[in-house]
Amino acid sequence: MAKIKLPRSAPSLDMTPMVDLAFLLVTFFMLTAKFRVNEAVPINPPASHSEKILPENTLLVTVDTAGHVFFSMDGPDVRRNLLKDIATTYKMTFTPEEYKRFSLMTDYGLPISKLHDYIKGGEKERGAMDKKATGIPIDSMANAPGGELGNWIFYGYKQKSIHDQQNKIPRDKQCRIAIKGDGQTNYFKIKRVIKIFQDNNPAINSFQLITNQETENLD
């Protein structure tokens, strides 16, 4: 029987196309990636058949299962101005470093009295505070009918509107207000937030409710 000659050299293959493809994909994902923001609390919104995609420019109020309210807004410049307004209202002072820190955060779900500690804290401490967060108080007070949340929304919306106007953002891309609630939250907790929206000046009567996409198709 004839012996089968085994090739002596190490088996090697040309990897160039594979590398090309890999880097093409890397580039694609790098350019399209929008990183998931660290959320303070896990929320599982209810599903709907709506196909509208949440607009980019939003001021978000999150309500978790226990009814704790979180406020989030993006845009470093807007956040800086928001903190300035909050500082004047509650007679607080922040250092430029603290302004910078606050401008890069997203969620906030604690009473104003803890804001200073929250900003000062590191990533870890903030995470721990988020876990124990009691939400922004919404009970009305003498100087703020909507409680602290009312103030956050009032100043947040004001600063967003100013920002939109200054940058001449078209009407359909202007700041929207959205509620992200967990499906198991009691409705009256959401209703309290809606009431604050409507009591705001200017009244916010049109807003978005964030939902997951329903997979079931309609007949």
Binding site: L25, K34, S50, K52, Y187, L209
Partner: protein, 208 residues
């Protein structure tokens, strides 16, 4: 290629002619491939594919005077959402002191969706015709939107009132609003249950 290259013959001898080393033009690509795939995996895993969806809600503007508020007529449909996850109560027209007006259904496809579809039949047919026309390019974008609004908000369209109890879940409210949108109901409102109504419902054992 992906194998280790051995060094080409170097000039050791004193009298050997100085020659340029014979370098192969091939580079070992393995580390690059490793890195490439590492990055690829990272980006694939961190990318958010499904963006969250949203529903728009327009709440009525608070009226300055209460003289011309829309009143509930006999054709309107009122839903009562309670803490019971499997039941939805509904009735047509005004609330009466009579337990037999209240009907029961559930949140499923066969339940609430059917109720909405039945009660909003006329509008659904008109919308369907309009959508067909639009699909056949017989209508412009703006005209289509305007006509759709007109049909949904027309006089014949059913007015639906959603009354959610304190203990109802947010999910229930979203489900109902979603079904309303699916059934082309354009006129609906989210209202609180009035105290008198609440008392009656409690007496009938519909809510706790």
């Amino acid at each position: 290629m992906a194998e280790i290259m051995e060094s080409g013959g170097g000039g050791h001898g004193k009298h050997q002619k100085k020659r340029a080393k014979k370098h192969s033009s091939r580079v070992d690509m393995t580390p690059m491939v490793d890195l490439g795939f590492l990055l690829l995996t990272f980006f694939v895993l961190t990318t958010q594919f499904s963006k969250p969806k949203e529903m728009e809600i327009n709440m009525p503007v608070k009226p300055k005077d209460t003289s011309n508020i829309m009143t509930v007529d006999t054709t309107s449909l009122t839903l009562l959402l309670t803490e019971k996850q499997e039941k939805v109560y509904y009735y047509y027209g005004k609330f009466k002191n009579d337990p037999s007006i209240i009907q029961t259904t559930d949140y499923s496809k066969e339940g609430i969706r059917k109720v909405f579809r039945e009660s909003n039949k006329n509008v659904r047919e008109q919308v369907k015709k309009l959508k067909e026309k639009y699909a056949n390019h017989q209508l412009a974008d703006t005209a289509f939107k305007r006509m759709l609004m007109d049909i949904k908000g027309g006089k014949e369209a059913r007015f639906v009132i959603v009354k959610a109890d304190e203990k109802a879940k947010y999910k229930n409210v979203i489900d109902v609003i979603d079904e309303l949108n699916v059934a082309d109901v354009g006129k609906y409102a989210l209202i609180d249950i009035s105290p008198a109504e609440k008392q009656q419902l409690k007496a009938w054992g519909k809510i706790n």
